[in-house]
């Protein structure tokens, strides 16, 4: 294994691979990615694979908008031969009750100011989009036709290949076991395959970001939380958009492959690394899903699994340096929406690490914001 590097990226998910590619592209020198298992084995490869621009904070809207732009021709941008299965069949966010309706309408104003083509639809119009939608008690919905889907394995693969083409070294089955630092400066990363001398680290370890932070003596407010998900048998295309309900805490989308991918959030899920599946999820999922999309009761469930959200207290990621240790950068805490903003996030991280002006301002997303009390609470998360 390589003995020294200019930058070591910890985590071979989509954020790590996108950051590594952008670093190499911007001339960071020798860049290394360390992944304890295989690429996209963590949150990236377990996610719901949706792409949406309908967010409730300016930053998430901007990051998502730019990322969708980049994903629309990613293989070309990266000069790799990988089909990332990018499709734009929209997202339909269902609104129930006064509070949600007014929040959604506020979100629309924000989204329109940023050029995101979302709109309010009545229950009748929602049924034009998804004919079998149960609109009982629904106030309406917001719809953005340009939201969609992408294959997380393929996007990660595309970035990893592009990074390798720029001489980035990607080590899988390589676990980081320690970080050597003295007087506030990093000197090496310790792995099960030897040490790598470096003065710059990117912590892109997702659910394990806190664990990696602790190796450097840094306490990050990111915590792992299990989210369960399932996939059905493939059927003919029957549902265009991702249907999302914050009231039911549920999302469901038919993938280009024909299968339906769906999940629910659980408000009482404890912090932890447990990613086992449960029968309670199956039952809960089925009950909630069938109440809003009744005909899907006829689908066969093929497989269920779970993954870790890397949760941040305000559900907005930490992107930045840490005050206690020089050149220890974190790109984690994505709270369930890292995949869809990974293209631009990798670029911004690389710009910041290399001391270049960032395409969008991100300095306020450093870990220090929690001490300063400057949070960016994202309201629209399942």
């Amino acid at each position: 294994m390589i003995k020294s590097a200019d930058v070591v990226v910890i985590g071979g998910g989509v954020i790590g691979c996108s950051t590594a590619y952008n670093l190499a592209k911007l001339g960071a020198g020798k860049v290394v990615v360390l992944e304890k298992s295989y690429l996209a084995s963590g949150a990236t490869g377990r996610c719901g694979a949706g792409m949406r621009m309908q967010w409730g904070t300016e930053t998430n809207c901007l990051l998502a908008r730019e990322s969708v732009k980049m994903l629309s021709n990613l293989a070309e941008r990266l000069d790799v031969d990988v089909d990332i299965e990018f499709t734009q069949n929209g997202y339909l966010l269902l609104a129930y009750g006064d509070k949600m309706e007014s929040q959604f309408k506020k979100n629309l104003v924000l989204q329109h100011s940023l050029g995101i083509p979302s709109r309010w639809v009545s229950p009748e119009e929602a049924r034009d989009i998804v004919p079998f939608l149960n609109t009982q008690d629904m106030r309406g919905a917001t719809y953005c036709a340009e939201d969609g889907h992408c294959n997380p394995f393929k996007v990660t693969e595309a970035y990893a290949q592009a990074a390798k083409n720029l001489q980035v070294e990607v080590y899988t089955d390589t676990e980081v076991q320690g970080i050597v630092a003295k007087n506030g400066q990093i000197s090496a990363v310790r792995t099960n395959r030897g040490d790598i001398q470096t003065d710059t680290i990117v912590n892109a370890a997702g659910g394990y970001a806190k664990t990696v932070g602790r190796m450097a003596g840094i306490e990050l407010p990111i915590f792992p939380e299990r989210h369960e998900i399932l996939v059905t048998e493939p059927v003919e295309p029957t549902m265009g958009p991702m249907v999302m309900s914050f009231y039911h805490n549920l999302y469901c989308q038919q993938s280009p492959h024909g299968s339906f991918i769906m999940g629910i959030g659980h408000p009482d899920e404890p912090e932890g690394f447990d990613i086992r599946s449960t029968w309670q999820f199956l039952q809960d999922m089925a009950n909630r899903l069938v109440s809003i999309l009744p005909p899907l009761a006829g689908l066969n469930v093929i497989r269920q699994w779970a993954g870790l959200y890397d949760m941040c207290p305000d559900r907005t990621p930490i992107l930045g340096n840490s005050p206690q240790l020089e050149r220890f950068f974190t790109a984690a805490g994505f709270s369930g929406h890292g995949f869809m903003i990974s293209p631009i996030t990798g670029q911004l991280m690389a710009e910041m690490i290399l001391g270049k002006p960032t395409t969008f301002p991100i300095q306020m997303f450093d870990a220090g914001r929690f001490e300063r009390g400057e949070l960016f609470v994202e309201p629209s998360v399942v």
């Binding site: 693969e157 039952q283 006829g298 066969n300 093929i302 497989r303």
Partner: protein, 91 residues
């Protein structure tokens, strides 16, 4: 078996496609599954897993017994959403 032989019957993946993945450096069932969907269909890899493990063993010179199989994911067999409804009151 030739490169045209179907290895994963659920997802129509041929031996040639599997060999191409292995040649790209994917030496575990988990990686191959994610790259080309082999083992993701209704049978959940009951047929193809061992065949793919064999191919990995051949290509890497390892003993097939040393190739880890994929994580087994529930449910054991496909189950209708409708069969999962209700039941809360009678548990």
């Amino acid at each position: 078996m030739t490169n045209d032989t179907i290895i994963c019957r659920c997802e129509d993946i041929t031996l040639g496609e599997i060999r191409a993945q292995i040649a790209q450096g994917k030496h575990t069932l988990e990686e191959i599954k994610r790259a080309c969907r082999a083992g993701m269909g209704p049978c959940q890899g009951r047929t193809c897993s061992l065949l793919i493990a064999n191919e990995i063993a051949k290509a890497t010179g390892k003993n097939v017994a040393d190739i880890p199989l994929s994580q087994v994911r529930p449910p054991t067999a496909p189950i209708k959403m409708a069969s999962l409804l209700g039941g809360k009151k009678h548990d």
